[in-house]
Amino acid sequence: MRRLAMIVLVVAVLAAVPFTEASNAVLNFLVVALLIALAGQGWNVLGGYGGQYSFGHAAFFGTGAYVTAVLQVRYGVNAWLAFALGIAAGALVGAVIGALTFRSGLRGSYFALVTLAFAEVLRIVASVAPITGAGVGTLIKLDLRHEALQFQSRAVFYWAILGLVALSLVIAWAIEHSRFGAWLTAVRENEDAARALGVDATRVKLGAMTLSAAITAAAGCFYAQYFLFIDAGIAYGPWISVEALLTAIIGGAGTIFGPLFGALLVRLLGEAARLVTGDAPGLDLVIYGAALVLVVAFAPRGLMGIVADIRSAFRRPAPRPTAEAAGG
């Protein structure tokens, strides 16, 4: 219950930001950071709790974004419905890729490769298929009405993405406190042992992948609605696969708050790099890459691990190890 209270607290603090004197630039920064946090939480469900490292979450992000945009632009579907269908389509893509890969028993390097390949196939298809607008991309018409899921004020967009992030935090919390989550962690720690104990590993991984894809797809749907423009390079590009993974790993894979704090930190570093170098491309990503290597090398449990270490350092030394300390 303490974790749940933490979620409420963190979300409440973030929700108060628009009431301060925050400029549009700050809000915009936070919207993008939360968007990445949401995509990262999707990655975290599969990669953090399930140990299946996907290098191609762009497949889900892009599917969400394209379905949301194309349904509105070409078929006149209501934006809210398009948003929901985008999430469903992302989940479906996740289920299909998951069914194909997990049934063939692909793990580790192979799994990373095959997810990467699926994302690339989708990117190439989207860059030539007429329905996606091919190379030109898809532009959603500006229509600032609530029915069209577009808002005059940036604050409303901000609260919307914050709401989605809050939901994803609760999902992560629920995973940690469910039987499904226990199975998933067992599969991560030792798949063969988990199978021997009667865990249906394929089904558990498939469930995690579908949920993971749905969450990342929601980030894609929101991207389309917020920026009103997508093309193949944005929607299915490797950047989002890398950022989703990066935020989760840097924040702490397999923790509730890891992706959120990871996204905020990574995006802050990126902004700092941009301040130093102006608009020259590349340096922010160099820093992201370096942060990833450094975290893996020196803080394998990410930011959340560092926080836990600091907290335990300040706690009075316990006479003997307690169950709570082992919970991490």
């Binding site: 194909l100 095959v114 491309p281 990503l285 290597v293 893996v296």
Partner: protein
């Protein structure tokens, strides 16, 4: 159907392209065979090698084919150092961490090059760039024929190194049974780094063979590395003959599907093969059953 007049040159050209693919895949498969991880930094290191070959020609006027003799040892040292001092220590012996570290390195290298040289595409001029030779009625670009020859020589050298030297023996021992090799006194960290160095040296040679007819920009390696992944998976991860044959085969497939489907969809043919092989026979054509 197309007439043989078009088909045969397309196949021959595919084989020539495939030879360089094979060399890139050779480095990848070697690393996989010993370290059991996929080196996601392979593409970025290829880009770095292409830049190195480009600048040795531009700044010092050294012919790329000559530069290969300097760049291959240089990239061997680079690869050795990366594995020994960065990838190895950073990943604490966990395969998943190795994947992440190589991915991180790829992001760093690619974007450092982007930052330093911007997104411009660069080419070099050498007098033989456009020379052709006639083989059985079809004209083939001379640099690519040279490339095929060089790839065969490198493959032969690599084979000799793995078969005939003590280091080669140690590499094969670590690939087969890491713990056993360690117990018999082989320095596994050193062998890992040697293997990584050899794989990276292959890239330097490939870059020198590519640069006379190709171009370089900070993202150029990605196109090659996805093809190389396909080859490695098709030929069987860790299999050297698999990489060679897979490379030639994929070169032909790309050339033919480009002919029938057009340039951008031609790539999809490769990916579909890739996904199909991974799903149906992940151990590849020449690999041992996983």
């Amino acid at each position: 159907m197309l007439s043989p007049v078009i088909l045969i040159p397309a196949i021959l050209n595919g084989l020539l392209t495939g030879a360089v693919y094979a060399l890139i895949a050779l480095g990848l498969t070697l690393i996989y065979g010993v370290l059991h991880i996929i080196n996601f930094a392979h593409g970025a290191l290829l880009t770095a090698a292409l830049f190195a070959a480009y600048f040795t020609q531009k700044l010092f006027g050294i012919d790329p084919y000559l530069a290969a003799f300097a760049l291959a040892p240089l990239f061997f040292v680079l690869g050795y150092a990366l594995q020994r001092f960065v990838i190895g220590p950073a990943s604490h012996g966990d395969d998943r961490n190795m994947l992440l570290v190589t991915l991180g390195l790829a992001v760093i290298i690619e974007n450092a090059l982007l930052y330093a040289f911007h997104a411009d595409t660069r080419t070099i001029d050498v007098r033989y760039s456009f020379e052709t030779i006639a083989v059985g009625g079809s004209f083939l670009a001379l640099p690519r024929v040279i490339g095929l020859g060089a790839v065969l020589i490198v493959a032969l050298l690599l084979w000799a190194l793995l078969r005939l030297t003590d280091t080669g023996k140690a590499i094969r021992a670590v690939a087969k049974e890491k713990l056993g090799a360690e117990l018999s006194g082989i320095d596994v960290a050193h062998i890992y780094a040697m293997t990584f160095g050899l794989g990276t040296a292959c890239l330097a040679v490939a870059a020198c063979l590519l640069i006379p007819t190709y171009y370089v920009n900070p993202h150029v390696g990605n196109a090659f590395v996805l093809v190389a992944f396909t080859i490695v998976v098709l030929g069987g991860m860790g299999s050297v003959p698999g990489a060679l044959i897979g490379g030639l085969f994929i070169g032909v497939v790309e050339s033919l599907s480009g002919l029938y489907l057009g340039e951008s969809l031609g790539q999809i043919g490769i990916f579909l093969i890739f996904i199909l092989v991974l799903l149906v026979r992940p151990s590849g054509l020449f690999g041992e059953r996983a």
